[in-house]
Subunit: 397 residues, 2 copies
C-alpha cells in the first residue's frame, strides 16, 4: 500500500459518496471515536478533577500547538490552541496594532474570509481611534502596501478561488515598509507546505476542522513569532494566559511566551478529538501531500474541461498558485451543486456562482477525481440541475 492508500484507509468515508468538501469539514478519522470515548470514561469519568494534572489536560493547548507547528513551519513553543479562528484573529490584530501604534490602517483583501474582516471591523469600532480597515483586490495587495499601514492581514489561500498569495514575498515587502504581518492559514494548514519561520511571519492563525480533520467546530490555533511573544499585550487577557493562573492574583500578569495567548479553560473533549486526528499526519510529509494535491487538482481541471465546456475555471491553472481546491463558475451553480450532492458528490457552493471542490490526498485518489468529473458531466450536460427543488433548497454551509 502507498502512504496515501494507508491514510485513506484510516478515514470513515461513507459508501457511495465522493467527498470533495474536506476544505470545509474534514471527514472522521476512524480511530477518533475510541480516543474520545476513552478520554470521556478513563480520564473525565475516573480521574475527574485530577485529570487536569494526571492526564495533562492543562498541557493540551501547547502540546497540540507544537504538533500543528510542525505542519506549518513553526518552532516548538510558538503555537497554542484554543477558542475559534474568529477569536484568534481578534487577538492577533489587537496585539499587532499595538506593535505599530503610530499607524492607523489594517490592510486586507476582499477575498479574505468575511469573519476575519468582521472581527477587525468590530475591534476598530471598539478602539475608536480613527483606525481604518482598507481592502484591496487580492491581485493588488502588493501594490497597495504603503508606510501608513500598521498591519497586513491576509488569508494565504482565497476561500472562493483557491488563489494563493506569495506569503514570503508579501511578508518581506511589508516588513520593508514597517508593516506587521498576520497570515490566516485556514486553507493552508494541512493543505500545502507553510514555512512561517522561513517567511518571517509575525502572527498566524488557523482552524483545524478543514484539512486537519479535527471535527465540526474544532479549536483554532495562533502562532506568534518568538521575537514578539514577550512584547505583546494580550487583549483577551484570560486566566489561562496569566503567569500563574492558580495564584488567583487580582491583577493580570501575562505568562511567558506563547502561553499568554491562552484565554479561558481549554476545551478538553474537542482537543482530544483533534489530537487523535493529528496522528494521521505522522504518516506523511507535507511535500508529498502538496505534490499529490496538485496532481489531483490538475487531473480534475483536465477531466472537467474535457467533459463540461460550459463551466469556467475560477481557480489558477498553475498548481503553485493554488491551494488544494478548485472552483468552477456556472450560471446555475447553486442548483448544480444540489444535484451533485444528490448524486453522491459533495462539494459546496460559494456565492454568487461558484462550485467549489476540495482535494485532499489523505483520502481522495484519482478514481474519486474521475468519478466526480463523470457525475458532474451528467449534472451539467443532462441538465440535472434544472429542477425547481434545487433552486429553493435551503442551505447552511
Amino acid at each position: 500500500m502507498s502512504d496515501f492508500q494507508k491514510t485513506k484507509s484510516m478515514f470513515h468515508l461513507p459508501d457511495g459518496m465522493i467527498y470533495l468538501d474536506g476544505n470545509s469539514l474534514g471527514p472522521l478519522p476512524k480511530a477518533l471515536p475510541d480516543r474520545v470515548g476513552s478520554m470521556l470514561t478513563k480520564e473525565w469519568g475516573d480521574m475527574l478533577i485530577t485529570g487536569w494534572n494526571k492526564a495533562d489536560w492543562m498541557g493540551q493547548p501547547s502540546r497540540i500547538g507544537d504538533r500543528i507547528g510542525k505542519l506549518i513551519g513553526a518552532p516548538a513553543g510558538s503555537v497554542v490552541m484554543g477558542d475559534t479562528l474568529s477569536i484568534k484573529v481578534y487577538q492577533a490584530v489587537a496585539s499587532a496594532l499595538e506593535l505599530n501604534p503610530n499607524r492607523k490602517v489594517v490592510l486586507s483583501d476582499n477575498g479574505n474570509f468575511p469573519t476575519d474582516l468582521y472581527m477587525v471591523e468590530g475591534l476598530l469600532k471598539s478602539l475608536d481611534k480613527g483606525q481604518e480597515l482598507r481592502l484591496a483586490n487580492p491581485a493588488d495587495v502588493e501594490a497597495t502596501l504603503s508606510e501608513d499601514i500598521a498591519v497586513l492581514m491576509l488569508t494565504e489561500v482565497d476561500y472562493r478561488t483557491g488563489c494563493k498569495h506569495d506569503m514570503k514575498a508579501l511578508t518581506q515587502k511589508a516588513h520593508a515598509l514597517g508593516i506587521v504581518v498576520i497570515w490566516d492559514l485556514a486553507h493552508s494548514a494541512g493543505a500545502l507546505e507553510v514555512d512561517l519561520a522561513g517567511c518571517n511571519a509575525d502572527f498566524a492563525v488557523g482552524c483545524t476542522y478543514k484539512y486537519l480533520n479535527g471535527g465540526p467546530g474544532a479549536p483554532a490555533f495562533i502562532y506568534v513569532a518568538p521575537k514578539h511573544q514577550d512584547n505583546i499585550r494580550p487583549a483577551l487577557s484570560g486566566w489561562m494566559g496569566h503567569e500563574s493562573p492558580f495564584a488567583f492574583d487580582l491583577n493580570y500578569k501575562s505568562g511567558a511566551g506563547i502561553e499568554r495567548m491562552r484565554v479561558g479553560t481549554p476545551p478538553v473533549i474537542a482537543l482530544t478529538a483533534l489530537e487523535a486526528s493529528l496522528d494521521i499526519w505522522d504518516m506523511v510529509n507535507m511535500a508529498d501531500v502538496r505534490a499529490k494535491s496538485i496532481e489531483l487538482c490538475d487531473l480534475f481541471i483536465a477531466e472537467v474541461e474535457k467533459r463540461c465546456p460550459t463551466l469556467t475555471l475560477a481557480s489558477p491553472r498553475d498548481g503553485v498558485n493554488r491551494g488544494s481546491q478548485i472552483s468552477f463558475k456556472f450560471d446555475h451553480a447553486y442548483a448544480a451543486m444540489q444535484a451533485l450532492i444528490d448524486n453522491g458528490v459533495i462539494g459546496d457552493f460559494r456565492a454568487p456562482d461558484s462550485m467549489r471542490f476540495g482535494f485532499t490526498p489523505l483520502y481522495i485518489d484519482e478514481a474519486d477525481v474521475i468519478g466526480a468529473a463523470v457525475i458532474l458531466e451528467r449534472v451539467i450536460n443532462d441538465k440535472l440541475w434544472d429542477n425547481p427543488t434545487y433552486q429553493t433548497r435551503s442551505r447552511v454551509t
Copy 2:
C-alpha cells in the same frame, strides 16, 4: 427511588471516592459517552458537511441556550452558547460599557473570580479611554454603588467562600443609579434558583463544566435581557453573529436578538456532550435541588465542627446566604487537602488557607457527607497532613 437516588444512578462515580469537587468539574453522566460517540459516527462520520443542516449543528448554540435558560430564569431566545466564560465576560462588559458611554467605572469585588477581572483589565487597556476597574470588598458593594459607575459586574456566589450576593436587591439598587448590571453565574447555574428575568438583570454569563456537568472546558453561555438585545453592538463580531453568515458580505451586520452574541463556528462535539448532560436536569426542579443542597451543606458544617474543632468555617452559616459549597480555613489547608484526596475525598484548595467542598444533590447524599467528615476528622486529628510530600506536591486546580 427518590428523584435524587435516580439522578445519582445516572452519574459515573468511581468506587471508593467521595467527590466534593463538582463545583470545579462535574462528574461524567453515564449516558454521555454514547451520545458523543453517536454524534461522531452517525453525524460527523456519515453526514459530514451536511450535518450542519441535517443534524442541526447550527442550531445547537440557541437550542442548548434555551435549555440552560430554563435553569436560570431566562426566557427562550435570551441565552446562547459558545466560547469560554472569559470570552463571554468580555462580550458582556464591552457591550454594557457602550450602553453607558458617559461613565468611566466598572465596579466589581475582590471576591470575583480573577479571570473576570483580568478580562475587564485587558478590555479597558485596549479601549484606553480613562476607564477604571474599581474593586470593593464583597460586603461593601452595595455601599459603593454610585452614579459614576457604568457597569456593575459580580459573580453571584464567591468561589472561595460560597458567600452569595443578593442579586435582586443589588440589581435594583444599581438600576436606580443608572448602572448596567452583569452577573456571572459560574457557581449559580445548576446550584441554586436563579431568576434573571425577575431580577431584571441586564447581562449574565456562566460556564457549564461545574454544576451543569458538561465536561472539562465545556462551552460557556451568555444571557442578554431581551430589551437590550437589538441595541447592543457585539465587540466580538464574528460571522456566526452576522444576520446572514452565508451571504459572505464584506461588512458586518449583526443578527437579530441573542444570535449576535455568537462569534465563531460552534464547538459541536463539546456542545453535544453538554446537551447529553442537561437531560438529567429534566428529572428535577431547582427548588428541590436548592433545598437539598442547603440540607447537605448544613449537615457537613455540623459534622465537621463536631469532629474537627481546629477548623474555622469560612462560609456563611445561614444557607440562604450561600451557594452550594462550604469552605473551612486551616493553617495547613494545602497539605490537608492532599491527604484528603489520597484518602478518597476530593475537594480542592483555594489560596491562601481554604479547603473547599462542593455539594450537589444530583449525586451527593447524606452518607457521602458523613463519610467525608469522618475522613476529614482522621486527616486533621491524626495529622495525616503532616507529611512532607503533601507540602510539595504540585497542583493545577
